[in-house]
Symmetry: C2
Subunit: 161 residues, 2 copies
């Protein structure tokens, strides 16, 4: 088995095509890892989650690692690791476009949420970790937390014969 470092464009190709990754977070120097459904958006990873241990831990320590791989082939494997920082995307009221500009809360955040929403919805399956009901809209996402991971570094390794 030969192993080589992947180039950044190769890592990004894998991140763009993948929807499933494993997210690791840390509390008291102990790790916790879970599968997540995500969308890659250049400088950020976007995802949804129900409230729980993962979100609690990431709020306590925002340093996270997303690991994404392709090990389904008998010709070898690829694994990409993204180091990044967890950031809540707070729920904002739907924009009322007739309201004065000063009342249009957090338009930038809203734009990011809309973008991420469209990426995640494009391939959503009901059964994917943290996924929403396919009929849900941003306004009816209910108890789901919407978050992003600001990407710090990306690296990857490939094994081949």
């Amino acid at each position: 088995m030969n192993i080589r470092e992947m180039t950044r464009p190769e890592c990004i190709t894998l991140l763009r095509s993948a929807r499933l990754g494993r997210l690791a977070c840390v509390r008291d120097n102990r790790p916790y890892a879970v599968p997540i459904h995500f969308a890659f958006g250049d400088d950020f990873i976007f995802s949804f989650s129900l409230p729980g241990k993962k979100v609690e831990w990431m709020r306590g320590n925002p340093h996270v690692c997303l690991q994404v791989d392709d090990v389904g082939s008998v010709h070898g494997w690829k694994s990409v690791v993204v180091d990044g920082v967890f950031e809540d995307l707070p729920k904002v009221p739907a924009l009322d476009r007739t309201a004065p500009a000063i009342d249009q809360l957090a338009p930038v955040l809203d734009h990011e949420r809309e973008f991420a929403w469209s990426l995640l919805q494009k391939h959503a399956n009901w059964w994917e970790p943290g996924s929403l009901n396919l009929g849900a809209t941003l306004a009816t996402a209910g108890s789901h937390l919407f978050y992003q991971i600001k990407i710090e570094t990306i690296s990857g390794r490939q094994a081949f014969r």
Copy 2:
């Protein structure tokens, strides 16, 4: 999507049938996650690795998390998380069965290694993360590190419609 906690026997069934997991470790409160090829042996997870970042980190902080899932079905997913402690399995000289008992070094360790070896070899594919050449024997494992994770807790969640 409904989510429920898995029972311990259900978690163990998944751990026994799986070979691929994702291992998370920690340094300076930052996580690192990689795919590994493992074998489950009741109180321990066994695996091989080439030397590198993962091994360095686990030697510095032995608290690790192994995450194993089955998300390949459209009927839902299962994810099991094992919290445990990394332990090196030092290489010991091959037993010379004609030598006096006092010279037979670390027979217990050797037994564990033989057991793990047989588990890992049973389903080994050349391309699996950290895997050895199929023709390798314990004596020729070369630069591979052989390690175990002493299991502390096991938990799992299942999503279903």
